[in-house]
Every structure is written in C-alpha cells, then in structure tokens.
Amino acid sequence: MPAYTLTVNGEPRRFEAAADTPLLWVLRDILNLTGTKYGCGAGLCRACTIHLDGEASFSCQIPISAAEGRRVTTIEGLSPDRSHPLQQAWIEEDVPQCGYCQPGQIMSAAALLERTPSPSDDQIDAFMKSNLCRCGTYNRIRSAIRRAAQSKAATRASANEEAENHG
C-alpha cells in the first residue's frame, strides 16, 4: 500500500493506505479519530464534514490520494478544550440530541463563520442545508451559530479596543 502524509489537527501523520480509501476511513480506522462520523458514504448527509486546507469538505468523498500533503482539521482539533465559540454556543443552547451529526454540523458552522462572520438566517440555511440532523435540532443550531458569531464579534471588538488603547 502506498504511504501518505497528512497534517491532522496540526500534527504530521504518516501511514499506509489503499489509494482509494476515503479520508473519512483514514481518520476513523487508521488514525483512530472517531469524532468524524459516517452517515451515508455518498456526500448526502455531511456527518463526515472536516476542514481540508481550511475549507469544509465531505471526508467520505475524498480519496486519500487527493489529500496527500494537505492540512486536515477534525472536530477533535477544533479546540483543545471545547473552547471554540461554536462548541461553547452548542453547550449554551443545548443543541445536541442524539449528537451523531453534531461534529459535522459544528465543522460546517466553523467554516461558515470563517467566511461570513455575522451570517443572516438565510445565509446560515444556505450554508448548513446539506448537514442532516434526524433529531431536528435545526432551530437550536441556528441560535447557536448566531450566539457564536456574537461572541466572536465581542472578542474581536475587545481585542481591537485593547489594540487601540495600546496604540
């Protein structure tokens, strides 16, 4: 089997895998990072969402041969201690029910906020509509994304203020 190198959650990882192995199964079965979930294997539910070079991607649809040398962030690497504003907001809003889709939801939402720091509900819906939740936590997902956006904005504002005070 060919050898591959990835940077996963900031750490270089080297391993062997069949070239057509989807990144999802590399993460789960080879690197033992089971936070990224299998839901459909067809790019239809987005439970497998990770960041590939910072972009939200379906890991079930990316063969490892197309990911060689790239930078992967999984739910385990979003923050070391659940301190990411989205993780905090997810806890504040009591979002998860069964919880199975939530790593994918959070990774999609993180990519959304990187691109659109203060999304409207329509922008949230447009970006998040491929992430399925069978338990129906969608209204709380929207609230949590809004809450995280506000909290990031507040952090930015206070950082700016501090910079100005020191400037």
Partner: protein, 728 residues
C-alpha cells in the same frame, strides 16, 4: 504498516471506554438496592413489551456512586438515543440526593438482569414509569449518607440534614462532605422498608422542573462521545454483510477469490442474513465486497411493488374485526342525504427509521463468554440474541451500551447484534459489523403500510354524527409472534379505537395484511399514521358541515377537558382565525398517545414547485408532570421534524420484489432550510404523567394536510404529501 501513535484525545477516549468495559470503577460509595415497582411501573412493563419484545417483569434498581472527588456518578438501565434519558433520570436521583447538578455525571449501566431487571427503552416510558423509583433511589442514598455522618458524630440521624453534597448537624453546625462519608455509608444496610424514605413534596423541588443542562452535551461537541461505530477493541475486525437483494431471496453460491485477494480482507463468510466480508477496516470490507460475486436464489415476490401492496391493503380493508362499535353507524350514514355524507380512502406507506448512525454492533465471542458493545435500545434482547447464537447462558453475555445515534424504535431489534455475534464466533476475534447506509435502508423493519376506508356523516346542522373507520394494515404484533386480542392488533388501532370525539355512531375495524416486508416499531407506532388519518378526516367532516375545525373539536371534546385546554392554547398561540400572509393557511390537529395530549398547528404555503412549505408550527403538550422542560420542548421539536419529513417525503420504494430506496437522495429528511419555526408550550398541572419521546410525532402530518385542505379545497388522502401535491 499504519501508524497508530499519537492522537492523545482518542487514547483518552479509549481508556475511558475500557474502564467502562472492565467495570473497574470500584472506589467510593455504591448504593444498589431494591425498589418496589410502582403502579406506573406497570405502564413500563406494558410499554416495554410493546416496543422491544420484552416485559419489565423484574425489580427496578438504582445505582448511585459518590467518587472521592465529590462527583456523583449515576448509572441507568435506559438507553440514551437523543431523548435525554440520562439527564432526566439523573434529575430524579439528584433531586432527592441533594447534590449540586454540576457534580452529577450519568452513564449507561452494564446490563444485568439480576440487578436491574429487563432493560428496554421505548414506549415513551422511561421517566413516567420510573418517576417514583429513581427519586427513591436518590432519597435512599441520601439517608445512608446522613446515617453515616450521624454515626461518626454520635448523634441521632434526625438531627442532621443534607444539602448540596454535604451533611450538616443542625445543633453544632458540623459538616461532612458526601465524599468523606461514602466509605462508611457503603457499609450501612440499605433501607429495608420499601416505602421509606419519604420523598420531597413537589413545592420543595430544586432540580425537577428546571432547565438544567444536558449531561451528555460536552462529549457531543468535541468528538469524544462514543457511539456504537466508535468502539475500538484491540485486534478487532470490521465487517459488512451483503444481503439478498430480493425479498425472500437467499444465497445460492458465492466466489470469494477476488474479494480475498483485496489487501486487508480476512474472510468471506456466509451467515444467516447474507454473505459477510470481514477485513481490517471498513474500507477493506467495502473494497472486498465490490469484488465479491454472489449467485442469488431469486425471491418469490418478483411482482411485488408499491402499487401491488396498495391493492393488497385495499382488498383487505372491508374484512376486518370490529374494534369499536357505538350506536348504529350504517343506519346513520344511510339516513344522511348525499350532501351530508362523505367517503374517503386514506393510504400510508412504509417508513424507514433512517437513524443517522447506521445499524452496527461490535462483538467478542470467546469459548466461555461473550461481550457486546452495542448501540441498542434493549440490551436484554441483545443478550438473548447472543445467548441463542453462542449457546452461552445469559449471565455470560456482557452488554456495554454505547450512545445511540438515533433509535426511534429501530434499535430495539437485534439483526445487527446477530450479525456481529455470528461473525465474531466464526472469526474468533472481535468483529464490528457495520451496515452501510444502503444496507441499513434496505434491511426492512419498517413502519407498516396500510389503507383506511372512512365513511362519515354530519347532521342537518353540520355536526359530525357518524364515523365508520375500516383499517387494513400489516400487523407488527403478528410478525413478532404476539397474540391479538379479539382479533385486533392494539398498536394498529391506537388513536382510532379511542377517538376522543363525541360522535354517537362510531365504528372501527381492523384487518391484518400479510406482506413479505418486515415491520417494526417506528416512533409513535400506530399513532404515526392514525393521528394523520383521524385528524384529516375530521377536517373533511368540518368542511362538509361548514364548521370551524377548532370550534367543532372543542364541542365534541366536552368530556375531555384536558384535550380542550391543549387545543384552546394552541389556537390562541397560533392566532387561529386571524389573517395570514397571502397564500398561507393554518391547519390544526390534536392527538393523544403514550399518555400525553398534543395539539399542533402548521402554517403552510404551496410553493411554485408544488411542494408544501411549513413556515411555523405551534405545539402544545399536556404531559401531566414535567421533569425537564427543555427536554420536553426538544422532544416535541424532534417529533415534529420526524413527522414532517415522513409526511412530506417519507416512503420506502419497492420494485419487482426488491427494496430500491437506498440512501438519503431517495429518502429525504428535513434540512435546516425546510425546518419551520417551532414554538412549544408545555402544560403540566399534576395530571398523570405522560410520555414525551413519541407524542410529538403524530399531529404534524394532519396539521399540514388540514392547512392544505384549506388552501386548495382538496383533501390529501395519501402520504407522502409531497408526491401528491407535486403530481396534482
């Protein structure tokens, strides 16, 4: 070879799961004692039997542990599938135990029939059936801790009290933390009198009735929560099972050579459900499967498809057994003029549970014991299935219940457990069997299909006076081998036989239809279709009699004040009768099941593509008593979402004797941009406690259908609605 080092977070997770597996948590106080079955436990016995094939015949036990750091670890024999049971049951214990919620942790117990009785999770019963028992569990633990402190201080227990994890001696103000008392308390005899100790009065509650945070949330936002698919056991293999594509088909022969040549494939094995490919990873099994050639024996149902199944149901509908017969329905209908009567055929399809985590199970079968790691609603059924296959006695089967990535009834079945046990037994290694999404969708065990013929009449003033309701549907009970009562499958007629409206001539019959597609309990079971049929037909009668649906319901619910109150609040909050945006209509529906009464309104428009769009839902639930209000709201919202998906798009397709629905493209579930705003209001006025997991599901389909009836003037009598409106 694959690198296995690093990933500290994962290692931590593995250690934790192995700790649970080994059960080596022996420090601190363990309280385990007998609690008598309450009257409500009878409900659980029935409900459990109705959902998992097992009765809860044994005692209910509680399991409280105080760790040296003062944290309180509670173990429960109920499965967490998203309904929040590990939180709501913990609230019951914590209320009486007098501990800070921040100190409470909650986990699945290891199934143990001698200690916990049979374990099944279903029938919306976990809280209502155990409301007293788990509070007693907390109270008894508290009394032991007080007794331990009193013994240490040489004072009477009656002079001490417990508060926030500390025992306080009233006279001297001395204090001892639970953690410091745990060892001594563990040696004291448990209360022998089952009625002792006394439970707190409702007005003293500090935990029950509050919106505490769910205990399982933190692990669900950082990837550390362990679902069935996340179980990792040293040396384990991964397997997929290729099932016969035809209903009733079988394996004739197979050639495994090409599959075995795939790197990582270890074996190709025939088991009762099909041919399994076993490999060192999911992908190895997938790759081997693609190379596997199997010759199938065709099934005997080559002509079977959804249309043929419709005809079977319609052909059976007039020959049912009588489930209810008030007045003289034939005479009342015959006596009504043509303009005052109506006949309608309502049809509903197979539904898949489509849990987001597909079915899976990990098994390790050894010569003298067997261990399972299973996302199961019923570890008891899993134990029985494993015992049967291995020949081991049940006490040699250890079931570790993982988190469930959705359940909805599907995970009370044991097909996935059987596959894993067969394969581990054959391989003599731990094996995780994984259903692909397509395997999961095609594996059967659906919400049954059926048809209804309804005939109704209104009197000269337009009020309903006759309701003839003939149902034909597949019986889940028959498939499980359970008896009918008076020729009736009780689950198939629930919500119809007990129709609450005062209609003087009311006839209900039910006929079984045998179709070679397996069925199973699906969230809210018979009510999932019957709530739709009854509430839509009610609005058809209202339209016939020119009556307002809320006014007509209120009038015919004179003997059901709780139903009236639920309906009135829903109408008020939804703004019933007030003008809506152009192109929108408001529909209402009311249904009681699992002891709770739910009304929902749906504000609906019909989009340019012919698809209904639901903008806003108001939901009112009367569940008698409430333990976790946020949990109740979330379960209502969840039930609405599942009911909405089913109403608009849910249908499993069968063509030429095969299930052809395979993935979410063919079985759509609601997405965030299709999710209505939902406002839920909870009524809890001390009436008998009802269930919460299922009652939110049935009304929404009818609320949508009734809104569309107003909008278009045409009733929708066949599900899914989306197909009907699209083709109209």
């Amino acid at each position: 070879m694959a690198e296995q080092s690093g990933a500290p977070s994962k290692d931590e997770v593995s250690r934790r799961s192995f700790l649970q597996i080994s059960g080596g948590l022996g420090i601190g106080l363990v309280v385990s004692f007998f609690v008598p079955r309450s009257a409500l436990a009878e409900i659980e016995a029935l409900a459990a039997a109705a959902t998992a094939g097992v009765g809860s015949g044994g005692e209910i036990n509680a399991y409280v542990r105080i760790a040296p750091d003062g944290s309180v670890v509670l173990s429960f024999p109920k499965s967490e599938m998203g309904q929040g049971v590990l939180t709501s049951l913990a609230m019951l214990v914590a209320e009486e135990l007098e501990v800070d919620w921040s100190k409470v942790r909650s986990e699945h117990a290891i199934a143990n029939e001698a200690r916990y009785g049979k374990w099944s999770t279903g029938g919306s019963s976990s809280v209502r059936a155990n409301y007293d028992a788990f509070r007693r569990a907390g109270a008894a633990a508290r009394e032991l801790l007080i007794a331990a402190a009193a013994e240490q201080w040489h004072v009477a227990p009656g002079t001490c009290r417990a508060e926030k994890g500390v025992v306080i001696h009233e006279g001297s103000g001395r204090r001892l933390a639970y953690a410091a008392l745990a060892e001594r308390a563990a040696k004291l005899p448990a209360p022998s009198e089952p009625s002792e100790p006394k439970l707190k009065p409702r007005e003293s509650f500090r935990v029950i009735g509050t919106d505490v945070r769910r205990l399982d949330t933190p692990a669900k936002v950082d990837g550390s929560a362990i679902f069935g698919l996340d179980v990792r056991v040293p040396g384990m293999l991964f397997a997929q099972v290729v099932r016969p594509p035809d209903l009733g088909g079988a394996v004739a022969s197979f050639d495994a050579r090409a599959a075995l040549a795939v790197e990582g494939v270890r074996a190709v094995v025939e088991i009762p459900h099909g041919v399994a490919v076993v490999g060192t990873s999911f992908w190895a099994a997938s790759s081997g499967r693609k190379q596997l050639s199997i010759v199938w024996k065709p099934g005997p149902h080559g002509a079977l498809d959804n249309e043929a199944i419709r005809k079977l149901c319609l052909a059976a509908v007039e020959r049912g057994a009588t489930a209810r017969n008030d007045g003289d329905v034939a005479r009342a209908i015959a006596g009504a003029g043509a303009a005052r009567k109506i006949e309608a055929v309502y049809e509903f399809p197979f539904l898949a549970h489509a849990t987001l985590e597909p079915m899976n199970c990990t098994a390790s079968v050894l010569a003298d014991r067997c261990e399972l790691w299973a996302p199961t609603q019923s570890p008891t059924s899993a134990t029985d299935a494993a015992a049967k296959i291995t020949g081991l006695p049940p006490e040699k089967i250890r079931v570790n219940t993982t988190l469930l990535g959705g359940g909805f009834g599907r995970r009370s079945a044991t097909d996935f457990v059987e596959d894993a046990v067969h394969l581990s037994k054959h391989m003599k290694l731990p094996v995780q069997v994984v259903y692909t999404r397509e395997d999961d969708m095609k594996a059967g065990l659906y919400r049954p299909v059926g048809a209804n013929v309804l005939r109704g009449a209104v009197d000269a003033e337009g009020w309903p006076i006759a309701w003839e309701h003939r149902i034909a549907s597949q019986s889940i009970l028959r498939e499980k081998g359970w008896p009918f009562k008076d020729g009736i499958d009780f689950a198939a007629v629930e919500g119809v036989r007990n129709l609450p409206y005062a209609i003087p001539n009311l006839f209900v019959s039910w006929a079984d239809v045998e179709i070679p597609v397996s069925t199973h309990w699906w969230r809210s079971v018979g009510s999932s279709q019957n709530g739709w049929v009854t509430e839509c037909f009610f609005d058809e009668l209202c339209a016939l009699g020119h009556k307002d649906p809320v006014e007509a319901r209120t009038r015919l619910l004179a003997k059901h004040p709780r139903h009236q109150r639920v309906l009135a609040l829903a109408a008020e909050k939804a703004g019933w009768g007030k003008p809506l945006a152009k192109g929108r209509a408001l529909g209402v529906a009311l249904h009681e099941c699992f002891g709770s009464i739910v009304a929902q309104t749906a504000e609906v428009s019909l989009e340019a593509d012919g698809q209904p769009r639901v903008h806003r839902v108001v939901c009112v639930v009367d569940c008698g008593e409430v333990v976790h209000p946020a949990g109740v709201r979330h379960q209502m919202e969840s039930g609405i979402t599942m009911g909405l998906s089913a109403a608009l798009w849910g249908e499993v397709a069968i063509e030429k004797g095969r299930i052809t629905t395979g993935n979410f493209d063919g079985y759509p579930i609601a997405r965030i941009d299709q999710m209505p705003r939902v406002e839920t209001f909870v009524i809890a006025e001390g009436d008998p406690m009802g269930g919460i997991g299922e009652p939110g599901t049935p009304p929404i389909a009818a609320a949508i259908g009734n809104a569309l009836l107003k909008l278009t003037g045409k009733p929708i009598r066949r599900l899914p609605i989306g197909r009907v409106t699209r083709s109209a």
